[in-house]
Symmetry: C2
Subunit: 213 residues, 2 copies
DNA sequence: TCAATAATAATTGTTAACATTTTACAAAGT
DNA sequence: ACTTTGTAAAATGTTAACAATTATTATTGA
């Protein structure tokens, strides 16, 4: 699943080799699975089993589990392992929602004027992936691309804020798997991308706030 | 510095054994040092050197460095190690400040009515430590207890929110070492604790917001 | 039969060695 | 003198074995 050494001769010539570490790959894979509801919070996630599944040792697995615990996706109990976290209670959810809206409203306002056509293409690409994921009802890919679209705008505004945003967004999406209206997800993000392409700040902020629920 | 196995016979009888892991201890120690300005962001922090200093292997050190990177205290470069992060830019600082105020205003409003006299004593204890730290101008201990006081109220309101709060507060305090008016720190926190002891929500919220700068 | 306790297995915490990547430095070539 | 190239050192990334803790099962006693 996660190959340890990639064949360099097969890479595109001048591509910006990201060379993501095992920890990062595993973190992203597990996050999308948890948000998609693949794991329950009944049974703990065993390090050994995950290590075998990903074909790596327990080290990178532990790193990923610790990171996801800090992010609010998992809950860590000393000497007992990790479980899937429960969604935030109503009051906490409302607070996190307000904070996420404040953040993304700030970020789109900060990056809008610096966006280029290349950014538009990137966003269109993510939107296309999101659409395909919704068509095949692939919850894991849906969660991935939903987050990816928002994260793109946050990163474009500030790398510094990305970590804070992720920990808020992850907690808010802890019950993502309950979402049933898949077509609505696509529609809402289409509105966002359209407003961004028009460089219409007010419309974009309104669309983003409408999507954050 | 960090003993691997503690002598159980010396622990108080029915104390709630926290048994903090090496990772946690090292994380807290390094955070307070970085916030106090002990480290510069010029030279990377070497895992091997830290391992020797704490008397442990590189494993727990790596865990701590990764956690502090996620928290915004350090910056992680793949295969190159970690450095001290730079304080957020003005616009980002204002956003984080607003979010932290929103969080702590929410938290004090949520936990105020549940606070007991035992909580008051805990807060007084932290305040006393903060005062002593200011008297001897121990920036590391000052940062520790400043954070500890706020964290206490956040935890009392919601364990779920603690992680988010920490990542925001850490980023805001990245230039804590520049603070010169030490007596003002004590005064501001005295006002907070006094308002809390009186269970005066409005006054407490006002004092907290005045302290978050 | 049930509760308490001891033995056992399974799991996480930590360590040290190995692998890979990056950096520093010197030598050679233009 | 400057750039390039090759080599060695040092740092991080990963692994597997060991230690300590927790959970499970078996056993003993009333």
């Amino acid at each position: 699943m996660v190959s340890k050494k990639a064949d360099r001769s097969l890479r595109p010539p001048v591509s910006k080799k990201p060379v993501r570490s095992l920890r990062e790959q595993i973190t992203d894979a597990l996050r999308s699975e948890v948000l998609a509801g693949v794991w329950t919070n009944e049974a703990p996630m065993r390090e050994h089993a995950l290590a075998e599944r990903f074909g790596v040792s327990r080290g990178p697995i532990r790193d990923a589990l610790l990171q996801l615990s800090q992010e609010g996706v998992l809950v860590y109990s000393p000497n007992k392992g990790v479980r899937v976290n429960t969604p935030p209670a109503e009051a906490e959810r409302l607070l996190l929602q307000s904070m996420r809206r404040e953040m993304e409203t700030f970020c789109i306002g900060r990056c809008m004027e610096h966006l280029t056509e290349a950014d538009d293409e990137q966003l269109e690409g993510i939107l296309a992936e999101l659409t395909r994921a919704c068509e095949r009802a692939d919850l894991s890919a849906i969660a991935d691309n939903d987050l990816a679209l928002h994260r793109y705008l946050v990163r474009r505004a500030s790398r510094e804020l990305e970590g804070v945003w992720q920990s808020i967004a992850s907690r808010l999406l802890m019950d993502y798997s309950r979402i049933d209206r898949l077509d609505q997800i696509v529609a809402e993000h289409e509105v966002i991308v359209r407003a961004v392409k028009k460089r219409n700040l007010k419309a974009a902020q309104k669309a983003i706030n409408a999507n954050i629920i």
